[in-house]
Homo-oligomer: 138 residues x 4
Protein backbone atom coordinates (compact mmCIF):
# COMPACT_ATOMS: atom_id res chain seq x y z
CA UNK A 1 0.00 0.00 0.00
CA UNK A 2 1.56 3.24 -1.03
CA UNK A 3 1.51 6.22 1.25
CA UNK A 4 -0.32 8.67 -0.99
CA UNK A 5 -3.61 7.97 -2.73
CA UNK A 6 -3.58 8.54 -6.50
CA UNK A 7 -5.11 11.79 -7.70
CA UNK A 8 -7.96 12.07 -10.23
CA UNK A 9 -5.30 12.92 -12.79
CA UNK A 10 -3.31 9.79 -11.95
CA UNK A 11 -6.42 7.59 -12.26
CA UNK A 12 -7.30 9.21 -15.59
CA UNK A 13 -3.75 8.43 -16.62
CA UNK A 14 -4.38 4.77 -15.81
CA UNK A 15 -7.44 4.85 -18.07
CA UNK A 16 -5.50 6.54 -20.86
CA UNK A 17 -2.83 3.83 -20.60
CA UNK A 18 -5.42 1.04 -20.99
CA UNK A 19 -6.05 0.84 -24.74
CA UNK A 20 -9.03 -1.51 -24.71
CA UNK A 21 -10.97 1.00 -22.61
CA UNK A 22 -10.40 3.90 -24.98
CA UNK A 23 -13.54 3.31 -27.10
CA UNK A 24 -15.73 3.95 -24.04
CA UNK A 25 -14.27 7.39 -23.20
CA UNK A 26 -14.60 6.77 -19.47
CA UNK A 27 -13.21 9.53 -17.23
CA UNK A 28 -12.78 9.87 -13.47
CA UNK A 29 -14.97 12.56 -11.94
CA UNK A 30 -14.19 12.08 -8.26
CA UNK A 31 -12.26 9.84 -5.93
CA UNK A 32 -11.66 9.40 -2.22
CA UNK A 33 -10.08 6.58 -0.22
CA UNK A 34 -11.99 3.47 -1.25
CA UNK A 35 -14.30 5.29 -3.69
CA UNK A 36 -14.25 6.33 -7.32
CA UNK A 37 -16.84 7.90 -9.63
CA UNK A 38 -16.51 7.35 -13.36
CA UNK A 39 -18.31 9.33 -16.07
CA UNK A 40 -19.70 7.35 -19.00
CA UNK A 41 -20.68 9.51 -21.99
CA UNK A 42 -23.59 8.39 -24.12
CA UNK A 43 -22.25 7.31 -27.48
CA UNK A 44 -24.38 6.56 -30.51
CA UNK A 45 -21.92 3.95 -31.66
CA UNK A 46 -22.43 1.84 -28.53
CA UNK A 47 -26.17 2.20 -28.17
CA UNK A 48 -28.69 -0.59 -28.46
CA UNK A 49 -31.87 -0.46 -30.55
CA UNK A 50 -34.13 2.30 -29.24
CA UNK A 51 -31.28 4.43 -27.87
CA UNK A 52 -30.83 2.16 -24.87
CA UNK A 53 -27.50 2.21 -23.04
CA UNK A 54 -25.91 -1.22 -23.32
CA UNK A 55 -25.81 -3.42 -20.24
CA UNK A 56 -22.23 -4.27 -21.20
CA UNK A 57 -21.28 -0.60 -20.90
CA UNK A 58 -22.83 -0.44 -17.42
CA UNK A 59 -20.98 -3.59 -16.33
CA UNK A 60 -17.77 -2.28 -17.84
CA UNK A 61 -18.16 1.04 -16.03
CA UNK A 62 -18.79 -0.71 -12.70
CA UNK A 63 -15.79 -2.96 -13.20
CA UNK A 64 -13.51 -0.04 -14.02
CA UNK A 65 -14.83 2.16 -11.20
CA UNK A 66 -14.12 -0.60 -8.65
CA UNK A 67 -10.67 -1.23 -10.14
CA UNK A 68 -9.84 2.45 -9.67
CA UNK A 69 -11.44 2.54 -6.21
CA UNK A 70 -9.03 -0.22 -5.19
CA UNK A 71 -6.15 1.88 -6.51
CA UNK A 72 -7.18 4.69 -4.17
CA UNK A 73 -6.34 2.27 -1.34
CA UNK A 74 -3.47 0.26 -2.79
CA UNK A 75 -1.80 2.44 -5.40
CA UNK A 76 -1.43 1.74 -9.10
CA UNK A 77 1.41 -0.80 -9.09
CA UNK A 78 -0.37 -3.91 -7.82
CA UNK A 79 -2.39 -6.11 -10.19
CA UNK A 80 -6.00 -6.83 -9.20
CA UNK A 81 -8.54 -8.77 -11.27
CA UNK A 82 -12.28 -9.26 -10.98
CA UNK A 83 -13.15 -12.63 -9.47
CA UNK A 84 -16.91 -12.23 -9.10
CA UNK A 85 -19.46 -9.70 -10.29
CA UNK A 86 -23.22 -9.53 -9.88
CA UNK A 87 -25.29 -6.96 -11.73
CA UNK A 88 -28.94 -6.02 -11.34
CA UNK A 89 -30.36 -4.04 -14.25
CA UNK A 90 -33.01 -1.92 -12.56
CA UNK A 91 -34.16 0.50 -15.27
CA UNK A 92 -33.31 1.07 -18.89
CA UNK A 93 -31.03 4.07 -19.47
CA UNK A 94 -31.73 5.96 -22.69
CA UNK A 95 -29.54 8.45 -24.51
CA UNK A 96 -28.08 9.86 -21.33
CA UNK A 97 -24.69 10.07 -19.65
CA UNK A 98 -24.04 7.77 -16.71
CA UNK A 99 -22.15 8.35 -13.48
CA UNK A 100 -20.91 5.16 -11.89
CA UNK A 101 -19.70 5.22 -8.29
CA UNK A 102 -17.87 2.26 -6.75
CA UNK A 103 -17.17 1.81 -3.05
CA UNK A 104 -14.94 -0.74 -1.34
CA UNK A 105 -16.91 -2.10 1.62
CA UNK A 106 -14.37 -4.66 2.82
CA UNK A 107 -10.75 -3.97 1.92
CA UNK A 108 -8.24 -6.78 2.24
CA UNK A 109 -4.68 -7.49 1.22
CA UNK A 110 -5.68 -10.32 -1.10
CA UNK A 111 -9.37 -9.63 -1.72
CA UNK A 112 -11.59 -6.56 -2.03
CA UNK A 113 -15.39 -6.51 -1.85
CA UNK A 114 -17.56 -3.60 -2.83
CA UNK A 115 -20.56 -2.23 -4.66
CA UNK A 116 -21.10 0.08 -7.61
CA UNK A 117 -24.13 2.08 -8.70
CA UNK A 118 -24.79 3.50 -12.16
CA UNK A 119 -26.97 6.59 -12.20
CA UNK A 120 -28.38 8.09 -15.37
CA UNK A 121 -28.70 11.83 -15.69
CA UNK A 122 -32.46 11.53 -16.12
CA UNK A 123 -33.26 7.91 -15.15
CA UNK A 124 -31.69 7.78 -11.69
CA UNK A 125 -30.35 4.42 -10.51
CA UNK A 126 -30.16 2.17 -13.57
CA UNK A 127 -27.96 -0.66 -12.30
CA UNK A 128 -26.48 -1.99 -9.06
CA UNK A 129 -23.36 -4.12 -8.92
CA UNK A 130 -21.54 -6.21 -6.33
CA UNK A 131 -17.91 -7.03 -7.08
CA UNK A 132 -15.07 -9.05 -5.64
CA UNK A 133 -11.52 -8.43 -6.79
CA UNK A 134 -8.54 -10.67 -6.10
CA UNK A 135 -4.90 -9.63 -6.03
CA UNK A 136 -2.69 -11.36 -8.57
CA UNK A 137 0.56 -12.32 -6.88
CA UNK A 138 3.66 -11.63 -8.92
CA UNK B 1 -44.41 -19.64 -27.84
CA UNK B 2 -44.08 -20.69 -31.40
CA UNK B 3 -44.52 -24.28 -32.37
CA UNK B 4 -41.12 -24.89 -33.94
CA UNK B 5 -37.82 -24.15 -32.26
CA UNK B 6 -35.45 -21.97 -34.30
CA UNK B 7 -32.64 -23.78 -36.10
CA UNK B 8 -28.94 -23.03 -35.69
CA UNK B 9 -29.19 -21.12 -38.94
CA UNK B 10 -32.07 -19.02 -37.62
CA UNK B 11 -30.16 -18.19 -34.42
CA UNK B 12 -27.07 -17.27 -36.43
CA UNK B 13 -29.36 -15.04 -38.45
CA UNK B 14 -30.40 -13.29 -35.23
CA UNK B 15 -26.72 -12.67 -34.43
CA UNK B 16 -26.05 -11.35 -37.94
CA UNK B 17 -29.00 -8.96 -37.55
CA UNK B 18 -27.60 -7.54 -34.29
CA UNK B 19 -24.95 -5.03 -35.39
CA UNK B 20 -23.41 -4.30 -32.01
CA UNK B 21 -22.47 -7.98 -31.66
CA UNK B 22 -20.67 -8.17 -34.99
CA UNK B 23 -17.22 -7.19 -33.63
CA UNK B 24 -17.19 -10.34 -31.45
CA UNK B 25 -17.81 -12.81 -34.30
CA UNK B 26 -19.96 -15.04 -32.09
CA UNK B 27 -21.56 -18.03 -33.84
CA UNK B 28 -24.01 -20.70 -32.72
CA UNK B 29 -22.49 -24.19 -32.61
CA UNK B 30 -25.40 -26.14 -31.15
CA UNK B 31 -28.88 -25.67 -29.78
CA UNK B 32 -31.65 -27.73 -28.24
CA UNK B 33 -34.83 -26.76 -26.40
CA UNK B 34 -33.66 -24.50 -23.57
CA UNK B 35 -29.97 -24.71 -24.51
CA UNK B 36 -27.55 -22.92 -26.79
CA UNK B 37 -23.78 -23.14 -27.32
CA UNK B 38 -21.97 -20.12 -28.73
CA UNK B 39 -18.44 -20.13 -30.17
CA UNK B 40 -16.23 -17.18 -29.26
CA UNK B 41 -13.10 -16.89 -31.42
CA UNK B 42 -9.97 -15.50 -29.84
CA UNK B 43 -9.30 -12.09 -31.35
CA UNK B 44 -6.12 -10.11 -30.87
CA UNK B 45 -8.04 -6.88 -31.05
CA UNK B 46 -10.12 -7.73 -27.98
CA UNK B 47 -7.40 -9.30 -25.84
CA UNK B 48 -6.13 -7.91 -22.58
CA UNK B 49 -2.44 -7.47 -21.69
CA UNK B 50 -0.73 -10.85 -21.68
CA UNK B 51 -3.08 -12.42 -24.22
CA UNK B 52 -5.84 -12.82 -21.64
CA UNK B 53 -9.43 -13.16 -22.88
CA UNK B 54 -11.44 -10.19 -21.59
CA UNK B 55 -13.94 -10.78 -18.84
CA UNK B 56 -16.32 -8.55 -20.78
CA UNK B 57 -16.18 -10.97 -23.71
CA UNK B 58 -17.03 -13.88 -21.42
CA UNK B 59 -19.95 -11.97 -19.91
CA UNK B 60 -21.11 -10.93 -23.35
CA UNK B 61 -20.95 -14.50 -24.60
CA UNK B 62 -22.93 -15.78 -21.61
CA UNK B 63 -25.53 -13.08 -22.06
CA UNK B 64 -25.93 -13.85 -25.76
CA UNK B 65 -26.00 -17.62 -25.26
CA UNK B 66 -28.82 -17.29 -22.72
CA UNK B 67 -30.71 -14.88 -24.98
CA UNK B 68 -30.57 -17.45 -27.77
CA UNK B 69 -31.41 -20.33 -25.40
CA UNK B 70 -34.61 -18.46 -24.51
CA UNK B 71 -35.40 -18.18 -28.22
CA UNK B 72 -35.21 -21.97 -28.52
CA UNK B 73 -38.21 -22.02 -26.16
CA UNK B 74 -40.06 -18.86 -27.13
CA UNK B 75 -39.16 -18.09 -30.71
CA UNK B 76 -37.44 -14.99 -32.04
CA UNK B 77 -40.31 -12.48 -31.99
CA UNK B 78 -40.60 -11.74 -28.27
CA UNK B 79 -38.31 -9.21 -26.60
CA UNK B 80 -36.39 -10.42 -23.55
CA UNK B 81 -33.80 -8.41 -21.59
CA UNK B 82 -31.27 -9.33 -18.90
CA UNK B 83 -32.48 -8.34 -15.45
CA UNK B 84 -29.76 -9.94 -13.33
CA UNK B 85 -26.42 -11.56 -14.07
CA UNK B 86 -23.77 -13.00 -11.76
CA UNK B 87 -20.39 -14.06 -13.09
CA UNK B 88 -17.60 -15.99 -11.39
CA UNK B 89 -14.24 -15.76 -13.14
CA UNK B 90 -12.66 -19.08 -12.30
CA UNK B 91 -9.51 -19.19 -14.41
CA UNK B 92 -7.84 -16.85 -16.87
CA UNK B 93 -8.35 -17.84 -20.51
CA UNK B 94 -5.37 -17.12 -22.75
CA UNK B 95 -5.23 -16.95 -26.55
CA UNK B 96 -7.82 -19.65 -27.00
CA UNK B 97 -11.30 -19.98 -28.42
CA UNK B 98 -14.20 -20.25 -25.99
CA UNK B 99 -17.38 -22.31 -26.12
CA UNK B 100 -20.16 -20.88 -23.99
CA UNK B 101 -23.19 -23.05 -23.23
CA UNK B 102 -26.32 -21.59 -21.63
CA UNK B 103 -29.17 -23.62 -20.16
CA UNK B 104 -32.59 -22.43 -19.02
CA UNK B 105 -33.25 -24.07 -15.64
CA UNK B 106 -36.60 -22.45 -14.90
CA UNK B 107 -38.60 -21.27 -17.90
CA UNK B 108 -41.47 -18.89 -17.35
CA UNK B 109 -43.74 -16.70 -19.41
CA UNK B 110 -42.41 -13.50 -17.89
CA UNK B 111 -39.07 -14.58 -16.42
CA UNK B 112 -36.36 -17.08 -17.32
CA UNK B 113 -33.58 -18.30 -15.04
CA UNK B 114 -30.53 -20.21 -16.13
CA UNK B 115 -26.80 -20.73 -16.09
CA UNK B 116 -23.99 -20.43 -18.59
CA UNK B 117 -20.50 -21.88 -18.63
CA UNK B 118 -17.54 -20.68 -20.69
CA UNK B 119 -15.00 -23.36 -21.52
CA UNK B 120 -11.62 -22.58 -23.07
CA UNK B 121 -10.13 -24.99 -25.55
CA UNK B 122 -7.13 -25.56 -23.30
CA UNK B 123 -8.12 -24.01 -19.95
CA UNK B 124 -11.39 -25.84 -19.31
CA UNK B 125 -14.07 -24.01 -17.31
CA UNK B 126 -13.05 -20.35 -17.20
CA UNK B 127 -16.25 -18.67 -16.03
CA UNK B 128 -19.67 -19.58 -14.63
CA UNK B 129 -22.71 -17.35 -14.97
CA UNK B 130 -26.20 -17.18 -13.51
CA UNK B 131 -28.72 -15.10 -15.42
CA UNK B 132 -32.30 -13.91 -15.11
CA UNK B 133 -34.10 -12.55 -18.13
CA UNK B 134 -37.40 -10.67 -18.09
CA UNK B 135 -39.87 -10.38 -20.92
CA UNK B 136 -40.54 -6.85 -22.15
CA UNK B 137 -44.25 -6.44 -22.69
CA UNK B 138 -45.19 -4.64 -25.87
CA UNK C 1 -49.91 0.96 -0.60
CA UNK C 2 -51.32 2.36 2.57
CA UNK C 3 -51.09 6.00 3.40
CA UNK C 4 -49.20 5.76 6.67
CA UNK C 5 -45.94 3.86 7.14
CA UNK C 6 -46.01 1.27 9.93
CA UNK C 7 -44.39 2.30 13.20
CA UNK C 8 -41.58 0.40 14.95
CA UNK C 9 -44.25 -1.01 17.25
CA UNK C 10 -46.30 -2.24 14.28
CA UNK C 11 -43.26 -3.92 12.72
CA UNK C 12 -42.38 -5.55 16.04
CA UNK C 13 -45.97 -6.75 16.10
CA UNK C 14 -45.43 -8.40 12.73
CA UNK C 15 -42.38 -10.20 14.15
CA UNK C 16 -44.33 -11.30 17.23
CA UNK C 17 -47.06 -12.69 14.97
CA UNK C 18 -44.54 -14.79 13.00
CA UNK C 19 -43.98 -17.86 15.17
CA UNK C 20 -41.08 -19.38 13.26
CA UNK C 21 -39.02 -16.24 13.90
CA UNK C 22 -39.55 -16.27 17.67
CA UNK C 23 -36.46 -18.40 18.47
CA UNK C 24 -34.21 -15.66 17.06
CA UNK C 25 -35.55 -12.83 19.24
CA UNK C 26 -35.19 -10.29 16.43
CA UNK C 27 -36.50 -6.79 17.23
CA UNK C 28 -36.88 -3.63 15.18
CA UNK C 29 -34.59 -0.81 16.32
CA UNK C 30 -35.33 1.78 13.66
CA UNK C 31 -37.29 2.28 10.49
CA UNK C 32 -37.85 4.93 7.85
CA UNK C 33 -39.47 4.82 4.41
CA UNK C 34 -37.65 2.02 2.58
CA UNK C 35 -35.35 1.18 5.50
CA UNK C 36 -35.40 -1.03 8.57
CA UNK C 37 -32.80 -1.94 11.21
CA UNK C 38 -33.21 -5.21 13.09
CA UNK C 39 -31.39 -6.15 16.31
CA UNK C 40 -30.09 -9.72 16.54
CA UNK C 41 -29.09 -10.73 20.07
CA UNK C 42 -26.23 -13.19 20.48
CA UNK C 43 -27.66 -16.46 21.74
CA UNK C 44 -25.60 -19.37 23.02
CA UNK C 45 -28.15 -21.81 21.70
CA UNK C 46 -27.66 -20.66 18.10
CA UNK C 47 -23.90 -20.24 18.11
CA UNK C 48 -21.46 -22.30 16.09
CA UNK C 49 -18.31 -23.94 17.46
CA UNK C 50 -15.96 -21.27 18.79
CA UNK C 51 -18.73 -18.78 19.62
CA UNK C 52 -19.19 -17.83 15.98
CA UNK C 53 -22.49 -16.27 14.93
CA UNK C 54 -24.18 -18.58 12.43
CA UNK C 55 -24.29 -17.53 8.80
CA UNK C 56 -27.90 -18.70 8.75
CA UNK C 57 -28.75 -16.16 11.46
CA UNK C 58 -27.16 -13.39 9.42
CA UNK C 59 -29.06 -14.42 6.28
CA UNK C 60 -32.26 -14.71 8.29
CA UNK C 61 -31.76 -11.26 9.76
CA UNK C 62 -31.12 -9.74 6.33
CA UNK C 63 -34.17 -11.44 4.91
CA UNK C 64 -36.40 -10.21 7.74
CA UNK C 65 -34.98 -6.68 7.69
CA UNK C 66 -35.73 -6.37 3.97
CA UNK C 67 -39.22 -7.84 4.43
CA UNK C 68 -39.95 -5.16 7.04
CA UNK C 69 -38.29 -2.43 4.94
CA UNK C 70 -40.77 -3.28 2.18
CA UNK C 71 -43.61 -2.94 4.67
CA UNK C 72 -42.47 0.61 5.41
CA UNK C 73 -43.34 1.35 1.77
CA UNK C 74 -46.28 -0.96 1.14
CA UNK C 75 -47.91 -1.60 4.51
CA UNK C 76 -48.35 -4.94 6.24
CA UNK C 77 -51.26 -6.42 4.27
CA UNK C 78 -49.54 -7.41 1.01
CA UNK C 79 -47.63 -10.69 0.74
CA UNK C 80 -44.02 -10.44 -0.48
CA UNK C 81 -41.57 -13.33 -0.76
CA UNK C 82 -37.83 -13.51 -1.36
CA UNK C 83 -37.03 -14.44 -4.95
CA UNK C 84 -33.26 -13.99 -4.93
CA UNK C 85 -30.66 -13.42 -2.22
CA UNK C 86 -26.89 -13.10 -2.39
CA UNK C 87 -24.79 -13.01 0.74
CA UNK C 88 -21.10 -12.22 1.19
CA UNK C 89 -19.67 -13.31 4.53
CA UNK C 90 -16.94 -10.74 5.11
CA UNK C 91 -15.77 -11.40 8.67
CA UNK C 92 -16.67 -13.87 11.38
CA UNK C 93 -18.86 -12.41 14.12
CA UNK C 94 -18.16 -13.77 17.60
CA UNK C 95 -20.31 -13.61 20.71
CA UNK C 96 -21.68 -10.21 19.84
CA UNK C 97 -25.03 -8.67 19.02
CA UNK C 98 -25.71 -7.77 15.41
CA UNK C 99 -27.54 -4.82 13.87
CA UNK C 100 -28.84 -5.53 10.38
CA UNK C 101 -30.00 -2.62 8.23
CA UNK C 102 -31.89 -3.20 4.98
CA UNK C 103 -32.56 -0.55 2.33
CA UNK C 104 -34.83 -0.72 -0.69
CA UNK C 105 -32.85 0.69 -3.63
CA UNK C 106 -35.44 0.11 -6.36
CA UNK C 107 -39.06 -0.08 -5.20
CA UNK C 108 -41.63 -1.50 -7.56
CA UNK C 109 -45.22 -2.64 -7.44
CA UNK C 110 -44.32 -6.25 -8.24
CA UNK C 111 -40.63 -6.41 -7.36
CA UNK C 112 -38.33 -4.80 -4.79
CA UNK C 113 -34.53 -4.73 -4.91
CA UNK C 114 -32.29 -3.75 -2.05
CA UNK C 115 -29.28 -4.42 0.14
CA UNK C 116 -28.73 -5.32 3.77
CA UNK C 117 -25.67 -5.01 5.96
CA UNK C 118 -25.02 -6.87 9.21
CA UNK C 119 -22.76 -5.04 11.64
CA UNK C 120 -21.34 -6.65 14.76
CA UNK C 121 -20.92 -4.58 17.90
CA UNK C 122 -17.18 -5.20 17.87
CA UNK C 123 -16.46 -6.70 14.43
CA UNK C 124 -17.99 -4.02 12.19
CA UNK C 125 -19.40 -5.13 8.85
CA UNK C 126 -19.69 -8.92 8.98
CA UNK C 127 -21.96 -9.63 6.00
CA UNK C 128 -23.43 -7.87 2.97
CA UNK C 129 -26.60 -9.00 1.25
CA UNK C 130 -28.44 -8.21 -1.97
CA UNK C 131 -32.09 -9.22 -2.10
CA UNK C 132 -34.97 -9.26 -4.55
CA UNK C 133 -38.51 -9.69 -3.30
CA UNK C 134 -41.55 -10.45 -5.44
CA UNK C 135 -45.15 -9.66 -4.62
CA UNK C 136 -47.45 -12.66 -4.39
CA UNK C 137 -50.69 -11.86 -6.15
CA UNK C 138 -53.81 -12.95 -4.28
CA UNK D 1 -6.14 -33.98 0.63
CA UNK D 2 -6.58 -37.46 1.94
CA UNK D 3 -6.26 -40.45 -0.28
CA UNK D 4 -9.71 -41.96 0.22
CA UNK D 5 -12.96 -40.09 -0.21
CA UNK D 6 -15.30 -40.27 2.81
CA UNK D 7 -18.17 -42.74 2.56
CA UNK D 8 -21.86 -41.87 2.93
CA UNK D 9 -21.61 -43.24 6.45
CA UNK D 10 -18.66 -40.98 7.24
CA UNK D 11 -20.50 -37.90 5.92
CA UNK D 12 -23.60 -38.82 7.93
CA UNK D 13 -21.27 -39.09 10.90
CA UNK D 14 -20.14 -35.52 10.27
CA UNK D 15 -23.80 -34.41 10.31
CA UNK D 16 -24.47 -36.33 13.52
CA UNK D 17 -21.48 -34.62 15.13
CA UNK D 18 -22.79 -31.15 14.23
CA UNK D 19 -25.39 -30.41 16.94
CA UNK D 20 -26.87 -27.24 15.41
CA UNK D 21 -27.90 -29.22 12.34
CA UNK D 22 -29.75 -31.92 14.27
CA UNK D 23 -33.15 -30.16 14.23
CA UNK D 24 -33.23 -30.40 10.42
CA UNK D 25 -32.71 -34.18 10.23
CA UNK D 26 -30.59 -33.88 7.08
CA UNK D 27 -29.09 -37.13 5.81
CA UNK D 28 -26.69 -37.98 2.99
CA UNK D 29 -28.29 -40.00 0.18
CA UNK D 30 -25.42 -40.16 -2.27
CA UNK D 31 -21.91 -38.86 -2.81
CA UNK D 32 -19.17 -39.00 -5.40
CA UNK D 33 -15.95 -37.03 -5.82
CA UNK D 34 -17.03 -33.38 -5.77
CA UNK D 35 -20.73 -34.16 -5.32
CA UNK D 36 -23.13 -34.78 -2.47
CA UNK D 37 -26.91 -35.24 -2.26
CA UNK D 38 -28.66 -34.43 1.01
CA UNK D 39 -32.20 -35.48 1.94
CA UNK D 40 -34.33 -32.87 3.71
CA UNK D 41 -37.47 -34.32 5.31
CA UNK D 42 -40.57 -32.15 5.45
CA UNK D 43 -41.16 -31.21 9.07
CA UNK D 44 -44.30 -29.54 10.37
CA UNK D 45 -42.28 -27.72 13.01
CA UNK D 46 -40.19 -25.89 10.39
CA UNK D 47 -42.92 -25.11 7.89
CA UNK D 48 -44.12 -21.66 6.97
CA UNK D 49 -47.78 -20.59 6.79
CA UNK D 50 -49.57 -22.63 4.14
CA UNK D 51 -47.28 -25.65 4.45
CA UNK D 52 -44.51 -23.94 2.53
CA UNK D 53 -40.95 -25.21 2.98
CA UNK D 54 -38.85 -22.43 4.50
CA UNK D 55 -36.32 -20.68 2.29
CA UNK D 56 -33.90 -20.88 5.21
CA UNK D 57 -34.15 -24.69 5.14
CA UNK D 58 -33.35 -24.71 1.42
CA UNK D 59 -30.35 -22.41 1.94
CA UNK D 60 -29.23 -24.50 4.89
CA UNK D 61 -29.49 -27.69 2.85
CA UNK D 62 -27.50 -26.18 -0.02
CA UNK D 63 -24.83 -24.93 2.35
CA UNK D 64 -24.49 -28.33 4.03
CA UNK D 65 -24.52 -30.27 0.76
CA UNK D 66 -21.68 -28.14 -0.60
CA UNK D 67 -19.74 -28.47 2.68
CA UNK D 68 -19.98 -32.25 2.39
CA UNK D 69 -19.20 -32.19 -1.35
CA UNK D 70 -15.94 -30.42 -0.49
CA UNK D 71 -15.18 -33.18 2.04
CA UNK D 72 -15.47 -35.74 -0.75
CA UNK D 73 -12.45 -34.00 -2.30
CA UNK D 74 -10.51 -32.85 0.75
CA UNK D 75 -11.45 -35.17 3.60
CA UNK D 76 -13.10 -34.23 6.87
CA UNK D 77 -10.16 -32.72 8.77
CA UNK D 78 -9.83 -29.34 7.05
CA UNK D 79 -12.03 -26.41 8.02
CA UNK D 80 -13.95 -24.71 5.20
CA UNK D 81 -16.45 -21.88 5.60
CA UNK D 82 -18.95 -20.27 3.25
CA UNK D 83 -17.69 -16.98 1.88
CA UNK D 84 -20.43 -16.23 -0.66
CA UNK D 85 -23.81 -17.73 -1.43
CA UNK D 86 -26.47 -16.74 -3.96
CA UNK D 87 -29.89 -18.36 -3.92
CA UNK D 88 -32.71 -18.15 -6.47
CA UNK D 89 -36.07 -19.29 -5.14
CA UNK D 90 -37.74 -20.63 -8.27
CA UNK D 91 -40.92 -22.30 -6.99
CA UNK D 92 -42.56 -22.73 -3.61
CA UNK D 93 -42.11 -26.21 -2.14
CA UNK D 94 -45.10 -27.46 -0.16
CA UNK D 95 -45.28 -30.33 2.33
CA UNK D 96 -42.76 -32.41 0.45
CA UNK D 97 -39.32 -33.84 1.05
CA UNK D 98 -36.40 -32.16 -0.71
CA UNK D 99 -33.28 -33.62 -2.28
CA UNK D 100 -30.42 -31.14 -2.51
CA UNK D 101 -27.45 -31.95 -4.73
CA UNK D 102 -24.26 -29.88 -4.60
CA UNK D 103 -21.44 -30.04 -7.14
CA UNK D 104 -17.99 -28.51 -6.97
CA UNK D 105 -17.33 -26.89 -10.35
CA UNK D 106 -13.92 -25.37 -9.60
CA UNK D 107 -11.94 -27.06 -6.84
CA UNK D 108 -8.99 -25.22 -5.34
CA UNK D 109 -6.71 -25.54 -2.36
CA UNK D 110 -7.92 -22.32 -0.79
CA UNK D 111 -11.28 -21.76 -2.50
CA UNK D 112 -14.07 -23.96 -3.86
CA UNK D 113 -16.84 -22.84 -6.21
CA UNK D 114 -19.95 -24.82 -6.99
CA UNK D 115 -23.69 -25.00 -7.38
CA UNK D 116 -26.53 -26.71 -5.54
CA UNK D 117 -30.06 -27.56 -6.64
CA UNK D 118 -32.99 -28.35 -4.37
CA UNK D 119 -35.63 -30.59 -5.93
CA UNK D 120 -39.00 -31.24 -4.32
CA UNK D 121 -40.58 -34.64 -4.66
CA UNK D 122 -43.57 -33.14 -6.47
CA UNK D 123 -42.48 -29.57 -7.34
CA UNK D 124 -39.26 -30.30 -9.22
CA UNK D 125 -36.52 -27.66 -9.05
CA UNK D 126 -37.45 -25.28 -6.22
CA UNK D 127 -34.18 -23.42 -5.67
CA UNK D 128 -30.78 -22.97 -7.29
CA UNK D 129 -27.69 -21.92 -5.37
CA UNK D 130 -24.17 -20.78 -6.19
CA UNK D 131 -21.63 -21.05 -3.40
CA UNK D 132 -18.01 -20.16 -2.71
CA UNK D 133 -16.21 -21.74 0.21
CA UNK D 134 -12.86 -20.61 1.62
CA UNK D 135 -10.42 -22.72 3.57
CA UNK D 136 -9.68 -21.52 7.08
CA UNK D 137 -5.96 -21.78 7.69
CA UNK D 138 -5.02 -23.19 11.08
Amino acid sequence: MNSTAPSIEALNGVLADTPFLNPYAFSVKACAPGECTVHVPFMDSLERPGGRVSGMILMGAADVAMWLAIMTLRGTAERWVTSDMKTAFLRGAREEDILCTARVLKPGKRSMYGTAECHGGTSGLVSHHVLTYAKVEA
